[in-house]
């Protein structure tokens, strides 16, 4: 399969989404495509499976050869069964009410005989590790399982080329791991794969990595070379591997393969350091002198009578000015806990008190001003057709005068950097901008506590950084922040205090570095400590980010 000089401009779009892209994929190869939001990744994928031009109006130029065939007018349907596509949004790719019917669906369309169909359904389910799930309703599966099912549905057709567009973006770490393991398996089977990904682990499996920026191919290189050059990842808004950044930052010529190896080298450089210096990395998170804002006392909650509890006997105290991370996998109860904290859910047992008053007895409008809650999916709240009106919705509900509303909207939009977009239609903003809009619409209520539910999901690395800097700025201005997340590096770099939930139980509540030192807990909850934190632990220093360690080492070297 190859593309030569392919350009595409969406109908009504001002700038081309792809500009002169050349790309070759050989049979049996795995190519990973990386790039920032709007770099043209999705457009490239659409070109590869003929969604462009058959579904998307626009102007397409260049030469496209797919499966040894020069493409002119072919549609998606013409390559059905030969080019498989798995997209990020797994919900939109599942059509049936049982797992086996889902996989069989495509085979039915092709008129495959029932005995062969059965055989291929089982083979496909085996490839993605979903044997034994045949009768399950896809609605009851986890995100990772749904995505694997979507892959199986494509595999059953035995496509010659499989294109995966950010298959792990919407998944929690466990789901990501599952899907990546499936990819590794497909790689071993020798299938031809094109994968758009933000995870560097995917690059580790690949033959080649292609970096896209502004619709152009920035670089196309063997995966091993790519992994040694973090600057390419940065250009494409992908979080580079910790060790590669470290090696680069410290000017090491030869690559490091493991944390242990890196630790040995760092230790040499850190040797002449006084003991007391080592704890400099982090201040104590416990701000005991501050006022108590929220108290949760022995919360328990069951959604259904016979289901395991979503929350079991969880107690928590939150004080002014804290930055707290709620960590846990999907289904661990972190969202349930957060919703109890602002009175959206009524616990079956226990009580939440806001400054000593039961939160459920506080009127709705006052509750909104006390504890703001930014939902994970910004699209679940955006309904206005102007950015300004969207933000004004909350203050208007409070019954403020139009003048006061305008003042608040201006401030909130200014804080998230969307003020000059106030007349735009939110529908056409990027996911990152919509996320910031959602934050602004809560900020306009001026809450004392802000709960953010996975504010960085679906964003590229640069957008994640931007969002986190915004949150940190609010925190410095005195906002109490509770952030639900399952991204370990975010916790390492930003949170002072972590609460770890697992199957509805509170496993840990304390300073972040203490949690990361507890291998037993991290393993029980199946979390991976970021490499750089592990490295720090090996060397006896407390670091939150690679930059910090590089600075530390650099300073020591100068001292010497």
């Amino acid at each position: 399969m190859y593309l030569r000089g392919v350009s595409f401009t969406y109908a009504g779009g001002a700038l081309p989404a792809l500009r002169g892209v050349d790309l070759v994929v050989r049979r049996g190869e795995m190519v990973v495509v990386m790039g920032a939001s709007r770099a043209g990744k999705s457009t490239l994928v659409k070109v590869l499976n003929r969604t462009i031009p058959s579904f998307q109006p626009g102007s397409l130029q260049g030469e496209i050869w797919l499966l040894g065939q020069r493409c002119e007018q072919e549609t998606v349907a013409d390559f059905a069964g030969r080019i498989g596509l798995v997209a990020q949004d797994f919900e939109a790719q599942l059509f049936s009410t049982s797992v086996e019917c889902e996989v069989a669906f495509a085979l039915e369309q092709f008129g495959v005989s029932p005995p062969e169909m059965r055989q291929r359904v089982h083979a496909a389910l085996r490839s993605v590790g979903l044997e034994g799930f045949e009768e399950r309703d896809p609605a009851t599966l986890s995100g990772g399982e749904k995505q694997r099912l979507a892959i199986a549905a494509m595999l059953a057709l035995e496509p010659e080329l499989l294109v995966l567009d950010e298959p792990t973006t919407d998944l929690d770490p466990l789901g990501k791991e599952e899907v990546l393991a499936v990819l590794a398996g497909l790689r071993r089977e020798g299938r031809t794969l094109v994968v758009v990904e933000h995870e560097t682990i995917a690059a580790e499996m690949a033959d080649r990595v292609v970096f896209l920026a502004e619709g152009r191919v920035l670089a196309d290189m063997p995966a091993q070379a790519a992994l040694r050059s973090p600057e390419w990842f940065r250009c494409c808004a992908v979080r580079p591997p910790d060790l590669a950044v470290l090696a680069h930052g410290l000017g090491w010529a030869e690559p490091v393969r493991s944390v242990e190896q890196a630790a040995a080298r760092v230790r040499e450089r850190l040797m002449p350091v006084q003991k007391d210096d080592r704890a400099a990395g982090q201040q104590q998170g416990e701000a005991s002198g501050h006022d108590v804002l929220l108290v949760a006392e022995k919360l328990s909650l069951r959604y259904e009578a016979h289901a395991p509890p979503a929350l079991a006997n969880v107690s928590l105290t939150i004080r002014t000015g804290e930055f707290l991370a709620l960590l846990g996998h999907n289904g661990s109860g972190k969202t349930t806990l957060a919703k109890c904290l602002n009175g959206l859910l009524r616990p079956s047992d226990g009580e939440v008190r806001w400054k000593g008053v039961p939160i459920l007895s506080i009127p709705l409008a006052e509750r909104a001003v006390a504890v703001g809650y930014v939902f994970q999916n910004p699209d679940h709240q955006i309904f206005a057709d102007r950015v300004w009106d969207e933000v004004a919705f909350g203050p208007r509900n409070l019954g403020l005068s139009e003048q006061a509303v305008a003042e608040r909207v201006r401030q909130a939009l200014g804080a998230v950097g969307l003020l000059e977009r106030c007349d735009d239609d939110p529908f056409w903003l990027t996911k990152g901008e919509r996320q910031r809009l959602a934050v602004a619409s809560l900020l306009a209520l001026e809450p004392q506590v802000l709960i953010l539910d996975e504010p960085t999901t679906g964003l590229d690395y640069n957008e994640q950084r931007q969002t986190m800097e915004l949150i940190c700025r609010l925190h410095r201005q005195g906002m109490t922040v509770i952030m639900i997340t399952h991204t370990a590096w975010l916790v390492a770099e930003y949170a002072e205090r972590v609460v770890l939930l697992h199957r509805g139980e509170l496993l840990f509540d304390g300073p972040t570095h203490e949690l990361f030192a507890r291998d037993d807990l991290m393993n029980a909850a199946r979390f991976r400590v970021p490499d750089i934190v592990r490295l720090g632990q090996r060397c006896g220093v407390r670091v939150r980010s690679v930059e910090e360690l590089v600075r530390m080492v650099g300073r020591r070297s100068e001292d010497r």
Partner: protein, 260 residues
């Protein structure tokens, strides 16, 4: 009429049908706010959905509304109303876009008083057609009198649509249009050869709905008699009176729909 069959060859239209059906059903379920006659009808904001979808998705909304009504009942309340509900909701999803495009070139984003007037008329007609079919069917089965159900369905559909649909359309239609997701864009240019017949069809539908609602109420309460229904069957539930009395009107309604 022809596009109602032709649309099944277009995958996007099939998806629109499923989306209409599931949105209709999904918003029915959590918001069965005020049961008017439990199991038969309730005041439901969801009834604005078929109208909105009709303007967006055209023929797909007709099928979608019909199926969505059945699917909604699949989550509780599968019963006698579903057969007539299928036909009634089909009309409810079909008539708005079809009448609108026959009468005007404008986009269904209401700007001036003329737009509102036309919109009210179109919605009133579609609601009436839906009410006529469902009211007639359930009265024939002897479950609910026409003058109760027919009027409730009519008023309910009217209210939900007038209170929600114009505002929903104002927000949703321009976006769908920019994304190339309206039925006009998806199906491309359609033949306009039989427009004359379509106006005849529209006339028949308007006549049938107007006469039907008046006659249905009259027959159901016993205040009106029609020559083709005998004396003896007029009492009791009114099942025979309404059933036979309205039958010719329904035939005219369906004929009109075919011509549209």
């Amino acid at each position: 009429m022809r596009e109602l069959i032709a649309m099944w060859r277009n995958t996007r239209m099939v998806v629109f049908t499923a989306l209409t059906a599931s949105l209709y059903a999904a918003i029915l379920i959590p918001f069965k706010v005020l049961p008017i006659i439990p199991g038969v009808t309730e005041l439901r904001p969801a009834n604005a959905i078929p109208v909105v979808c009709s303007f967006l998705f055209g023929p797909a909304a007709a099928w979608g509304a019909a199926i969505g009504n059945v699917i909604g009942d699949f989550f509780g309340g599968f019963g006698p109303g579903d057969l007539f509900g299928f036909v009634g909701n089909f009309l409810y999803g079909f008539l708005p876009y079809r009448t609108w495009e026959l009468l005007t070139q404008r986009r269904p984003v209401l700007r001036g008083p003329m737009d509102w007037l036309l919109f009210t008329a179109v919605v009133g007609l579609a609601s009436g057609a839906c009410a006529l079919v469902i009211g007639w069917g359930l009265n024939v089965l002897g479950f609910v009198p026409f003058r109760v159900l027919g009027n409730i369905v009519w008023i309910n559909n009217m209210l939900a649509s007038m209170l929600l649909a114009p505002f929903l359309l104002a927000v949703v239609y321009p976006r769908a249009e920019r994304g190339g997701l309206t039925y006009g864009q998806v199906l491309g240019r359609r033949e306009t050869g039989r427009v004359g017949l379509a106006y005849v069809g529209l006339g028949l539908v308007v006549g049938a709905v107007g006469v039907g609602m008046w006659l249905g109420n009259g027959l159901s309460s016993g205040s009106v008699r029609v020559p083709w229904v005998g004396e003896g069957v007029a009492g009791g539930t009114g099942a025979w009176a309404v059933g036979l009395g309205l039958a010719p009107v329904l035939v005219v309604l369906l004929l009109g729909m075919v011509l549209l």
